[in-house]
Symmetry: C2
């Protein structure tokens, strides 16, 4: 029998994620039955959204909370098929699926097909690394691209502010927005990240939100206002965006990481949306699977010719997954946080 392990949730964090919220348990893998494949996982994903599922009252409409004491489902993972009787998924095929944070997964092809973008999918790794499908060519790329799409941001020529810009999604949004011809203002939480955004990603202006009131930093970085805002933070960042927004600006509400470990407050100046004819569009990448092929084609070409960078914060070994999550939520990682199994 395969030596297999999986993380499960022991207790929900209150408020901060620590290693003892989880336990790594041995799993007796069933032999794959008809319509099932056995995947040896090679890379698994660590995303801010996981924090929202580590509480009993996950937001309605979102993925359900992780149940206590059971392996965590619904986490993007890449692996190689070790056993299969499905002709579409032969042994040795690299795939992604949604049963992460474990060494091996027995995936039911039909059942997994209900998971939308996360369904079992064969990946072309002839030119791209397997783990790029957890980043720019996967859910991160789709979220970045869909966010630009929902605010009519794919045409270029405007000023866009991207917060959490050194994160997995934000760093893609910055680069794609530049490639599309926008003026890009980026913000992050450390001077090193700001330096990386300016020097390596080539954004037009950048600031650290720790350097003073966000609205003042934003005004200095975008003296002519912003037309688009890609929000990964919420809180004072969203209030600053409403304040500095030009008439008819559009805001993509992607996440609100500043609210995930405290009581959210809500933007006190939301009336500016009315007075300035602003649009706020909440969205999830998974609602825009129809854009996946287009996104992979465009971002794949930019990756291949070197005009798009994909920085990874790699943690080694399944045992490091909780630390990876805690580090990412605390702002100690840059780019896409992933675990190599």
């Amino acid at each position: 029998m395969v030596d297999s392990h999986a993380w499960q949730v022991r207790q929900y964090p209150d408020p901060h994620v620590t290693e003892d919220c989880f336990e790594l348990i041995p799993v007796a893998l069933p032999d794959p039955g008809p319509g099932q494949v056995l995947v040896r996982n090679t890379w698994t994903s660590v995303d801010p959204g996981l924090r929202l599922r580590l509480r009993p009252d996950a937001p309605s409409g979102y993925f359900a909370a992780f149940p206590l004491g059971r392996p965590m489902d619904g986490i993007f993972t890449v692996g190689e098929i070790e056993h299969s009787d499905d002709p579409d998924f032969g042994v040795g095929t690299t795939v992604w699926h949604s049963q992460g944070w474990r060494t091996h997964s027995v995936v039911d092809v039909a059942e997994e097909a209900m998971n939308g973008v996360a369904r079992l999918r064969a990946l072309d790794v002839s030119a791209m690394t397997p783990q790029s499908y957890l980043g720019p060519l996967g859910a991160m790329g789709l979220t970045a691209y869909a966010g630009l799409h929902v605010v009519d941001g794919l045409s270029g020529g405007e000023t866009i502010w991207v917060s959490a810009a050194a994160g997995a999604v934000g760093s893609l949004v910055c680069q794609v927005a530049k490639l599309l011809g926008h003026r890009v203002v980026a913000s992050a939480g450390t001077d090193d990240k700001v330096r990386w955004l300016l020097d390596d990603l080539g954004v037009d202006a950048a600031f650290s939100w720790r350097d003073g009131p966000v609205v003042e930093s934003l005004r200095r970085a975008a003296p002519d206002g912003i037309d688009l805002y890609f929000d990964g933070v919420g809180g004072d960042h969203l209030e600053a965006a409403l304040e500095v927004a030009n008439p008819f600006a559009r805001i993509a509400l992607c996440g609100a990481i500043s609210d995930y470990e405290r009581e959210p407050t809500g933007p006190r100046n939301l009336f500016l949306a009315t007075s300035k004819n602003l649009t706020l569009r909440g969205f999830r990448g998974s609602a825009h699977v129809s854009l996946l092929d287009e996104m992979q084609t465009r971002l794949g070409a930019w990756l291949a010719d070197g005009s798009l960078q994909s920085r990874e914060a790699v943690f080694d070994g399944l045992a490091s997954a909780p630390t990876a999550l805690a580090d990412m939520l605390a702002g100690r990682t840059v780019g896409k946080t992933i675990v190599r199994l």
Copy 2:
């Protein structure tokens, strides 16, 4: 010389509008010069938005605050031309313009043309009353229609919640939405208003927000959730809408009357916009002047055949304008609040 009077602001209300915030002063009208017309005003408008201009820090992007000690500009008004040398605006023509809360206005045609929808405009009063141009055929109708437009609500067939539904705009939104084939849920602040909405306007469900937590009343009235929300209230109403919204629901942010006389808080559950793929669109009718003709044609036809009602809360005499505003803000009026001069 004409015996002419105008209201001006003596002090900004804190927090409630009272008569002594204003003073009615005699005005020495200049003789109209070239390109100017003299209008004897017959009806002037009383709108919730006036409250936002009765403070030193009017929201950016909105109309400027009313300056203290000067006649109030930018208030829709209907009147008859008494003197003119402009061939397009002959003596006796009924017009609207933006210089309200006074008995007479000398309007500079070219200057007024800068005011968008509020510019001097000749009105067809052969079939419609003059004051209907302050209600369904004017800014109120345009705001109602534009709000439905910005949330893709002009097609019908969905469930829409309309708050402040017994107000000038809300009562139009309810009726237009019904005529377009929506299921309409309405809320207001008194049992009489709720009765009127159900019995006279024919909405499908209605409740008073005073009868308990708004979110619970809304859930009972819309057990299958809402697809559209027309927000005139903000605060707990907007939070309830986010909570009860179906996936991909759209919210028209028209106003936030519950916030106008206190510190706004902002919706604490805005993350639901992300998790449920919701869109919030702030808008002002004045940004959609291009819809004015279409709106007047459609609403005019419905008014003419009796399928659209226009209820008016009429106050008599210019001296009553501050009382009319205070009554409207306190929820003591139904329909369009107007002053007959």
